[in-house]
């Protein structure tokens, strides 16, 4: 059995890697259970309702400029949706992880005379929390144009969609445009060439950033990431997580 230690886990929110300030995180999915017991029931009965998804993220409060604390303070009020990818254990391409779109943030900063200053944040996920595949993980060194390795994530049905998070944590090379596309194939390109579904690519111009977006409808089983330098010769550090979730 695969037992994984939590060390080496990573938390990416928007275009930031907050792993260096985190000590733990917990994902939770809670489904409403509506009781449907009737007189003739032999025991209590229920039907499933909607699922609320959230992430608890605890760590260390630091005084560094442009850190997790500053990001939380800046983003707690606008309620702008942000991409989040959570990578348990020391991550590698193909590993299982979780992704989603943060809608609401709650954050406390407990300060105790006998402990380090801390941050306890809770992120409410807007819509589904994806059980995702780490499709590309290029954060050790910035890369230019390249073709990623195909991952068999299984077909998505017509009632499902891809939930994709792209985090570009570093952009180098000055003015230009860097394109990250997710391609699909039914057989890893053996007889069915990889192609990019409509809406499955994003451009980054002159800066890093992030996207969380969906590609609806039936999808092929295999997926890969292809990056191109559309203008100039930019290079990036980035990661892509992709989950199959039900259509909303």
């Amino acid at each position: 059995m695969t037992i994984k230690h939590g060390k080496g886990s990573r938390v990416f929110i928007a275009e930031f890697d907050f792993s260096g300030e985190g000590r733990s995180f917990e994902i939770s999915a809670e489904t409403d259970m509506a009781e449907s017991t009737v007189f003739t029931s032999t025991a209590k009965e229920f039907v499933a309702g909607q699922t609320k998804n959230a992430v608890s993220h605890a760590g260390i409060w630091t005084n560094v400029d442009d850190n997790w604390d500053e990001w939380l303070k800046t983003n707690i009020f606008p309620a702008l949706t942000k991409a989040i990818s959570l990578l348990p254990g020391t991550p590698a391409v193909g590993d299982i992880c979780y992704n989603g779109e943060i809608k609401e943030i709650r954050a406390g900063r407990p300060i105790r005379v006998d402990d380090i200053c801390a941050i306890n944040a809770e992120y409410i996920i807007d819509g589904p929390l994806g059980r995702a595949n780490l499709l590309e993980y290029e954060i050790a060194a910035a890369v230019g144009a390249q073709t990623g390795i195909g991952q068999n994530i299984g077909v998505a049905s017509a009632t499902q969609m891809w939930l994709i998070c792209i985090h570009v944590v570093e952009y180098n090379g000055g003015a230009g445009t860097y394109r990250i596309a997710i391609q699909e194939s039914s057989d890893n390109g053996a007889t069915d060439p990889y192609s990019t579904p409509a809406g499955a690519s994003k451009d980054f111009s002159n800066t890093g950033g992030s996207f969380v977006f969906t590609v609806n409808g039936a999808r092929e089983a295999w997926a890969r990431v292809v990056t191109t330098q559309e203008a100039g010769t930019p290079t990036c550090k980035f990661l892509v997580t992709l989950a199959k979730v039900n259509l909303q």
Partner: protein
Amino acid sequence: MAVIHGKSADHNYNSVALDGSLRSIDVNIDVDTPDTSCAGDSAKEAIAGMYGWGMEAEYRWNPAASENDAIIFAQILAAAAATCDVTPGGGTPTATNPKYTGSAFVKSYRVSVPCDGVIEARASYQGTSTLTRAVA
């Protein structure tokens, strides 16, 4: 009296064995007992209503195919009940080794990732309708 250790417990959800990563599981059965006390009673009185049940399981998080994370997460997406069972002593159910079985939803699922420990997963199963106690 036979004392049963939990180390050999069998546990399945949606027809997939999850005991290979199981750390603990609680089988909870509660009966509604509305108060029927009236003036003149010497102490509180109650009457039995209908029972409900659920299971609370803790696992070592296992992301592999057909292991706890994949099976439980898929069932959340399906929003459907599936068979959940546990045999505390493991093996074939007998009169002295009962097996609890019922249909249950995944009511909640949590994955905890600490920087200083093993990654754990917890599932709360909400039983719907009958829980059986098989002895054969």
